[in-house]
Each structure stands twice: as structure tokens, then as C-alpha cells.
Symmetry: C2
Subunit: 403 residues, 2 copies
């Protein structure tokens, strides 16, 4: 049977994750030091607390949590999320629980996008989102960033071009805190400016928030949702997706979405068709984790855990990198971004680096098609030992000196 | 903000589950006896075994199962599934693990369907599938059933009409065992005839299998996948989705799909975009449940548990129903189907039945649009006590005598 001709158009043309292929290429190399993935450190998983909670939830509440649950999410969990986040004006209709953040992004896109609609995002941005939006037939346009985050000047310019072409911008996808892949956090002024700009143009904002609670130094900034909720008293402009993948562990497929009840309702309708519900056991375990007060001390612990790894990478970069190379200086998250001299392509650097037993993800992979930049790369600092960071950065610096 | 105009076309036009609305209407009625839902009996959930497994999996394998897993599913789980099912010629590339059976149906549809493509199904069939296919822009055409399952004569006729209209049938969706909603199991001869017909017309088969292992009496029949694999030596015609929702509990979102590696691969690509992976903790718990040999004795136990409930409903129907009313006599599963005299609409019967404190799902809800039949209804026997079955069927019979 020739399946190729049977597949839908979207399936025939969809792209696979190039990152996956790159990581697969390096999987079996012994002593390889990898700054490529985006894995959290297993040592940060609260497995002893979680194993106890899984036991008691299934043992004591099994008749309920092993049964079909609500498509919009467990109501006990929503109570805990509202209490934990402190949004006292919100209620269950503002919250949706999903099978991870990517799943929330997918429902949001399904709720809003017709084929050919334009979505704006930071360039570079999270590859998973680009690939998913692309598979849904959206036109993804990247907006350049500076050290304060997405450039509003560039964004105005791009919106103008899109309107001139007779097209509509449906929403902006943004990761304001410790952005993947750049590590950049949007400044407070930029956040306010962005909200004003989006409100003026009627552009909805999808705020992806996997990292804001992973702040190791510096002062926390309000999320876009928080600003819209508070200062603007406009709940409906921003939909925020919060992931616990870097907090509890990504194997528990869990995230939650907050937004206007109209859009949350439609996203819930898609959940009914796509997954019926998230895993109800996992939902209740997260609820009990919050209820018993484990969350805030646990977040404090993992921030203390990660801080030396980030600082080690920044110190080693300072010590070893030749001139002409720069990098972002994040205060949290799990990534930083490096700019190479204009003529060096990280796509080409990847292969000799692999031979030198150090890997990263070439920056071009994080741009929408036709917008790639090649003299850049992403480094992850959450999944290596301190010694590996020292040795790996040294290997990379030696290679760059000779390149 | 007026969201309505922001939503995608598919979102603006999608239907919600009418069953949900009907069930919601009766939720707060005291002493109501409900044969409406499709919930398994909580007493069948192996919660003590599962709570122990959750504990040990997270405690002992937490660093692995709380980490990101493979989009195509846990390889240890696949080993166990292959061993349990006994398909020795199959390997990991034939299996995909999904977030429940509905999720598997969604990926299959995304892999194959372009807008306007035709899908055939039994009429009546599982409402969740109709609604999901409809939201993806497919044209769903129902094929009448008799006591041996889907009518091949009707199917040939419908295929002819579709071809005449210049359209393409992409696949048939079927539930051969203890079908939802009818309770009908396809005869062996019909299964063989169906495979021959589909092969001849180049129509792929999506076999939904949530109930085949819930056989309480009579002799088990091979699944369509099994026949294609064995007799026909044609692995690729049938893709089978197996759910454990009625075996372990639907709150654990888990199902697996078996089929040709080409289609499994594309379904896995959609999983990457929609959910990244299923819940990895749940996957490993299911793997250990199989590995430790709990599955077969557990299935035996739940079949013994359910058998008296099915028999009680059949006995009470025999005892109480007036003439002119008939029903299917399943040998397993959780549903049976009732035909009323031509002039009685179950949609109208629903309201006086609610007043008489007994509910069911009107049969019309299980048909593709424009194909509804109204003189029929679905009864569930897995979620009531024996006394409730006796009283509820009696209430329904009294009502029908007076209708």
C-alpha cells in the first residue's frame, strides 16, 4: 500500500523537528558533552514527595480520579491554582488544564487560526510552536529582539506590511521570561509597550510561561497576563500558559491556561475532541502538591540548585571565549544564546564541535523559514554537571579560536 | 472584546457533545436512575494494585519517567504490549501510545483527512468520533447495521454513490466488538467480507477496540486487525486502537495504536505537535501492570463482575417491556440498544422519562447529521446497581406502556 498518496496535505508537507534529528546524530557518541537539549535536571524532580502523593491519591481517591474527569480540568485543581496564583477575581471558567504547554498552544491555535492567518512571534523562538503553527497552515512571522525583548519598532513595521498585503494578524506568541532559546527577559517598559501596541491593533497575546518561576538572581517582573489583569483591568487581551515541566518534571504531562472564559471554553471544546481530558491522576497529584504547600519551597530549592550551573556557564564563557563572540546573560531559565562573528555559521560549526565532543543547537533552527540567522547558537545549562560545563565550554572556545 | 469574530471557522461551526448537555440536565435530580453515560464501574478499577505501582514507578524510576519521554511512546511499555498481545512479527514501529483512544482517532484523522474527504462509519456509532471528524471538515457517512454488524450491501451502495459524486472514501471507522452504542458484535463472516470489500476498494480501516476484552459469555472473535495480520498477511489495511479505559480506568489517559509503520510514524508526528508525549508516569505504570502479569487475571475479574449486570438488564427487559419493542442481546461491553415502535421518538420520550426518574441517551445522537433515526435509544448497564437496573427498567417499561 502506498501510504504517501493517502496522507492529508498537512501531513505530507509537515516538518519534523530538526532538533530531534540533530540530537539523534550525537546520541551514541561517548563522552560527548551536550548543551543541546532542553531537559531539566532529574535531581530537581521531587520524586519522593510525588511518589507518596501518587500512592495516596490513587489509593484514597481512586474511584474518582480513575473515572472520566471534566474536559476543562479538575475543579479541585483549579481551586488550588487560583489560590496559589492569587488571582482572586478569576474563577474556574478562566482556567483550562491541558496535557502540557504545547497542547495548550495547539488548542489556542485551533481556536483562532484559519489557514493563511498570520501569527507573530519573537525571532528566534521555541521551535515546537513554529512547527505546530506551520502544520496548522498559519503564516509565522518573526520579530527581531534586542536585550529588552521583542522590538516594538520592528513589530509595528511588520504589522504594517501584513496589513498592506491584506492579511490579518490573529495573535502574538511570546515567551517574556527567560525566553527559549535566547534567555532574554522582556523589560517592564517593553511589556507595557507591547500590551499597548497589541491593544491598539486588536492583536491577541499568547504568553508562554514555562520559566518565569525559575529566577535565580535579580528581581521578578510581572507577567503580561498580570499587567493586563491589574493595571489595564483587561483580562481578555492575554492568554497565559503555565507549564510545570521544569518544576515537577515534563514526564507528568501537565500545564494550565488562563484567559478570557470565551476562549477558554473553545479551547476546552477542542480538548474534548483531541484528548477528552488530561490525565486525571496527574491532575489530582498536582492539586495535592499545591494544597499541601510543597510548591513554593520546592521552587526555592530548584532555583538554588540551578543557580551555580548558570553562573558556572557564564563564568567559563567569560574566561575562555575569544573576542567577537557575545552571549546573553540570563538571570534564570535554562538557556543562553550566543552570537558568533557574522561569517561563522553554527550549522557548519555543529560537525567539528561534534568531533570535539561538544554539542549545541544551531540558532537557525529557532527561526521561521526564510528568516534564519546562522551566526548564533543555543546553550543549555540545566542538564550538565559543573565539570561538564567547564570542559564543554572550553572545548567550544578552543574550536572557535581555530575556526 | 468580541471573540466570536476572532475564532477560526472550524471553531465557530463546531458542535458540542449533545450527550454532555443531556447528562448535565439530569445531574441534580435526586433518585434519578441513569442508563445514559458510558462510565465503567469504579469497583472494577484496580486501585490498590495501581497505587502501589504508581508509588514504586515514581520512587524507583522517577528520574526517568518524570523526564521527557519518546513521542511515539515508552519503549518498555511497547515491549510489554507486544508480549501481551502476542504479535510476534510486530515491533516498536508498529505501535504508538496515545492519550486515550479519542486521541488516537484524532491523530489518525489528522494523518489522512483533507477537508471534504469522506469517512464511513456504522450508523449508529460513537458520537465522539462523529464530532471530531466533523470538526476536522470530513464528510461522515453512516452505513446501516443488522444483527451481524455493518451491512456490506449498504456499504457497497454508499461507496458507489460517493464515487459517482466524484469523492474519495479515505477510511472506514468501525467498532466490531460490543459496538457503542448498539452492543452489536460483527460476525466472523461479516468481518472477513468487510476486509475483502475494503481491500478491493482501497479503503483503510480504523478499528476502535475499547470493549473486545469485556466478553462475559459466548466465544471471542478475532479482531479485524488480527484477521488482516494472520489470514490475509496484510498488516497495513487495518489500524487498531485499543483503550484500557474500561479495564484500568478512563482517568488514566492511555490507549495504544497498532498499524503500518508508515501511518504510525505520521500519527507520532502529530503527537509531537499536539501533546509532545503521553503521560510518561502513566505509561510506565501500565507497563509494570502488564509485566507483573496483573492484566489477564484482572480482565477475568471485571468480566465476572459485569456479567450479572448485563444479564439483569436483559432479564428485566424480557420481563417488563411491552410488545413492539426490541433490543440487542450483547455478550459483553457496557451498552445495549433498544428499538421503539416507529412513531415513538426517544428524543421526546427523554423528558417524561426524566420526570419518571430514569434516563438514557436518545438514539438520534449517535447518527451523522441528516441520517438520524429517532425510534431508538442506548442503555448502559455498567454504572448502576442491580436494584437500580430492576427499578429503572421497570420505570421505563411503565412509561412506554402509557406512551
Amino acid at each position: 500500500m502506498d501510504y504517501q498518496q493517502l496522507f492529508s496535505h498537512a501531513t505530507q508537507t509537515m516538518k519534523s523537528s530538526l532538533i530531534r534529528e540533530l540530537v539523534a546524530q550525537t546520541k551514541s557518541i561517548p563522552d560527548l558533552i551536550s548543551f543541546a537539549g532542553g531537559f531539566p535536571a532529574p535531581a530537581t524532580f521531587p520524586k519522593h514527595i510525588l511518589s507518596d502523593l501518587y500512592y495516596s491519591v490513587v489509593n484514597e481517591e481512586g474511584y474518582e480520579v480513575l473515572q472520566y474527569g471534566a474536559s476543562e480540568g479538575d475543579s479541585q485543581l483549579k481551586d488550588e491554582l487560583i489560590a496559589w496564583e492569587g488571582y482572586s477575581k478569576l474563577n474556574h471558567a478562566n482556567y483550562l488544564v491541558t496535557v502540557g504547554a504545547t497542547n495548550g498552544i495547539y488548542y489556542y491555535a485551533k481556536a483562532l487560526l484559519d489557514k493563511g492567518d498570520v501569527v507573530l512571534c519573537e525571532a528566534p523562538t521555541f521551535l515546537g510552536t513554529i512547527v505546530a503553527l506551520d502544520a496548522l497552515g498559519a503564516e509565522v512571522r518573526g520579530i527581531a529582539m534586542d536585550e529588552e525583548g521583542i522590538s516594538l519598532v520592528e513589530m509595528e513595521k511588520t504589522i504594517g506590511e501584513i496589513h498592506k498585503a491584506g492579511k490579518k494578524v490573529k495573535f502574538l506568541y511570546t515567551i517574556p521570561d527567560f525566553q527559549n532559546p535566547s534567555g532574554i527577559s522582556m523589560s517592564l517598559e517593553r511589556r507595557k509597550g507591547l500590551l499597548e501596541l497589541c491593544l491598539r491593533h486588536g492583536i491577541q497575546i499568547l504568553e508562554d510561561n514555562p520559566y518565569s518561576r525559575l529566577r535565580f538572581t535579580g528581581k521578578a517582573l510581572p507577567t503580561l497576563y498580570n499587567l493586563a489583569y491589574g493595571d489595564m483591568e483587561n483580562h481578555s487581551l492575554v492568554t497565559e500558559i503555565v507549564s510545570f515541566s521544569k518544576i515537577l518534571g515534563p514526564g507528568m504531562r501537565f500545564a494550565f491556561v488562563k484567559g478570557d472564559p470565551a476562549i477558554i471554553d473553545k479551547m476546552g471544546s477542542w480538548q474534548q475532541k483531541v484528548n477528552v481530558t488530561p490525565d486525571c491522576v496527574t491532575e489530582r497529584v498536582v492539586a495535592r502538591f499545591l494544597e499541601k504547600g510543597f510548591m513554593d519551597p520546592h521552587i526555592k530549592t530548584i532555583c538554588e540548585y540551578y543557580k551555580p550551573y548558570m553562573q558556572k556557564m557564564l563564568t567559563e564563557l567569560d574566561k575562555t571565549m575569544p573576542s567577537g563572540i557575545s552571549w546573553t546573560k540570563p538571570e534564570g531559565g535554562i538557556f543562553l544564546w550566543m552570537w558568533l562573528p557574522e561569517l561563522i555559521s553554527a550549522d557548519e560549526l555543529f560537525y567539528p564541535a561534534k568531533d570535539a565532543k561538544v554539542t549545541f543547537i544551531p540558532g537557525s533552527k529557532f527561526y521561521p523559514e526564510q528568516e534564519q540567522k546562522f551566526n548564533c547558537l543555543r546553550l543549555n545549562f540545566s542538564y550538565s554537571t559543573l565539570t561538564q560545563i567547564e570542559t564543554g565550554i572550553c572545548r567550544l572556545a578552543e574550536l572557535l579560536k581555530s575556526f
